[in-house]
């Protein structure tokens, strides 16, 4: 019998308990994330994996624990007399209330010891469990702290309990359960987070693709997104408006805007592209027709600042001005027209598809 003066310290069980806690947390996190991610990205295998994984783990968990359970079940419980040192009703709103008993257990063979147990007792039967009363208890010999009061003892034990007088055991002789391994909850939570994060990271590309695919061009209703720029896309045109402090004369901005418009699907064909300081609009060429069009990515965006500057020649440098660049390929060859308006008037020029100036009109 294991009688000690304090909780038994966790020994070799510690690494196993921690590993089991981590594994359990990982399986829970992975399966939950697989269910959610599988549902979002509409992946049936991932969703099924989220269902199968905990089932398989649960089965393995049960199988792994079966030898221990069989070993414990094979132990013949021991019956003994015990005296109630104290009792405390610890709550409950039903007719069976949990009661905490402080008992001195007096086995037939072996020293008496103290133990604290909590057991449900019907309120009608509470008077049967007064302090200093003798009761019959049962416990597995290898786990003396797992004491259970026998509410209906056999006639033989009933007679023994009725005639017994037991002395309280010293406080030092106390049977207590081994202490719980510390940190199991923490590693379980860690495993849960890692498992969930692993699934999300593995499928992050699908998730982000899903986000983008959630904004396809629609013939009936334009879709609008709002970040640092605003995009309005329909089946006939697309417009990307930049936020404050940004300009389409900045390097890379036109390409980013066209990337945004192209995410709805496939290559872009444009009839007309209109670019202003913070607005880029594309009129799409009708799909499946032979209408003339051009690839808006092929425009010489790196030449735009120079073309705008050149068009503004003759206008006051410091005066506020606006500009608009229109590219169209309706006549077959690509023509870029730049118009700059200032306080003094409007100036314009025309350039070819490579950004070479072919005609200039001074301010009027």
């Amino acid at each position: 019998m294991t009688i000690s003066t304090g909780p038994l310290p966790p020994t070799h069980r510690t690494p196993v308990a921690l590993a089991r806690g981590f594994l359990t947390g990982s399986v829970v996190g992975t399966s939950l994330a697989a269910l959610v991610v599988g549902g979002v990205v509409e992946s049936v295998p991932l969703f099924v994996a989220g269902l199968v994984l905990p089932a398989v783990y649960g089965l393995l968990f049960v199988l792994a624990g079966s030898p221990r359970r069989a070993r414990e079940a094979a132990v013949v419980p021991r019956t003994a007399l015990a005296v109630i040192e104290s009792r405390t009703v610890v709550g409950g709103e039903s007719s069976d209330v949990p009661v905490r008993f402080e008992l001195t257990v007096a086995p037939d063979a072996g020293p008496a010891y103290r133990v604290e147990v909590t057991q449900d007792v019907n309120v009608v039967d509470l008077p049967d469990y007064r302090p200093r009363g003798v009761v019959v208890v049962r416990y597995p010999p290898d786990r003396p702290w797992q004491v259970r009061i026998v509410k209906r003892p056999t006639p033989e034990w009933e007679e023994r309990a009725a005639s017994a007088r037991l002395d309280p055991a010293p406080e030092a002789a106390r049977a207590v359960a081994p202490a719980e391994v510390r940190g199991v909850g923490f590693v379980g939570l860690l495993g849960l987070l890692i498992g969930a994060a692993a699934v999300v990271l593995l499928f992050s590309s699908d998730l982000s693709g899903r986000d983008d695919a959630a904004k396809p061009p629609s013939a009936s209703r334009p879709s609008v997104s709002s970040t640092s720029s605003t995009t309005v896309v329909s089946s006939v045109s697309g417009t990307v408006a930049l936020g404050p402090g940004r300009s389409y004369l900045d390097e890379g901005e036109p390409d980013r805007a066209l990337d945004t418009l192209a995410q709805g699907g496939g290559a872009l064909r444009a009839l007309t592209v209109v670019v202003q300081e913070r607005t880029l609009s594309v009129v799409f060429a009708p799909a499946g027709t032979q209408a003339p069009g051009f690839d808006p990515r092929a425009l010489p965006y790196d030449r735009f600042p120079a073309l705008v500057e050149e068009a503004a020649t003759g206008l006051a440098v410091r005066s506020p001005r606006t500009w608009q660049l229109t590219a169209e390929g309706l006549t077959g060859s690509l023509v870029i027209r730049i118009v700059v308006t200032g306080a003094e008037g409007t100036a314009s020029l025309e350039a070819d598809g490579r950004g070479n100036v072919v005609r200039r009109e001074p301010p009027r």
Binding site: P45, E93, S95, N122, V124, D125, R152, T154, P155
Partner: protein
């Protein structure tokens, strides 16, 4: 992996489980086959305390002999001990089951049946194997396949068992006609109050009736039906009708029980007809 891939996986897993289960049964290794089934005898019956819990059954002392060792055991129904003992009298025979070599892990069984061969789980696995293709057929070819696939075998099984069920119900009706009537008394009303997570309280009242049969057996039994006011029934004298060959079959209201069995017969027939009709509708709609 497409739908058929999942179907193959489903059938493979549950087919393997079914095979393992049937194999274990053939080898005599299932829990049901290995369980030791001893015959217990009730040596003492205690009348329950008024107001106490009905969950633990009538307090009895039972003795049984381990067939393997011949050792005698005297036990009580304290705690989780299998079937609830709700009818008891001194001398009543009761089933005591336990794993081989572990009589301390006994469980009471209200019936003295020999027990099955442990085929319930393998058969359930086999049903799942069958249900997989039926479900896929219903998805791919239309809902009539579900009706035919599920209701067809169900209807055949119902038709096969219907005569036996009818004979059983008729036997019970005959049993009612042959019941003896003796005076009984409600000696206690057991009470169980439970509160669910939402704070709702539910109360279960179980009157306990005692009566002595014509051949002198003092029976103590739970009696949850037949009393109009269970809460105030303590001390009430009631006529008890019981089957002379088995006092565990008793009632306070023969007429009500007769109507109940007749209803049961009708429900059996109507249920089989509905399931058969569903299968026929499915077959016509194919």
């Amino acid at each position: 992996m497409g739908l058929h891939g999942y179907l193959v996986l489903w059938c493979g897993v549950f087919g393997a489980l079914a095979l393992v289960g049937y194999g274990r049964s053939l080898a005599g290794m299932t829990r049901a086959q290995r369980t030791v089934r001893a015959k217990g005898r009730i040596e003492r019956v205690d009348v329950p305390r008024h107001g106490s819990s009905p969950r633990e059954g009538i307090s009895v002392v039972v003795s049984f002999q381990d067939p393997a060792t011949g050792q005698e055991f005297t036990v009580t129904n304290d705690g989780e001990c299998g079937d609830l003992i709700d009818v008891a009298w001194t001398g009543r025979e009761i089933g005591v089951h336990y794993p081989p070599g572990r009589p301390h892990a006994f469980r009471f069984a209200g019936h003295r049946a020999e027990g099955g061969r442990g085929l319930a789980w393998p058969t359930f696995a086999l049903f799942l194997v069958y249900a997989g293709p039926v479900a896929v057929a219903a998805i791919e070819r239309g809902w009539p396949w579900a009706l035919v696939g599920f209701c067809g075998p169900w209807a055949l099984s119902g038709l096969y068992h219907l005569p036996g069920n009818m004979r059983d119900r008729n036997r019970r009706l005959d049993e009612l006609a042959g019941m003896a009537c003796v005076p009984g008394r409600v000696v206690a009303v057991l009470k169980s109050v439970s509160t669910d997570d939402d704070g709702h309280t539910s109360t279960r009242l179980v009157p306990v009736v005692t009566f002595t049969t014509l051949d002198g057996r003092a029976v103590t039994a739970y009696c949850e039906s037949g009393l109009p006011d269970p809460a105030g029934s303590r001390g009430l004298d009631v006529p008890v009708h019981y089957a002379p060959e088995d006092p565990a079959v008793f009632t306070l209201d023969v007429g009500s029980m007769r109507r109940s069995w007749q209803w049961d017969k009708a429900v059996n027939v109507v249920g089989v007809l509905i399931v058969a009709a569903a299968a026929v509708v499915g077959a016509v709609m194919l």
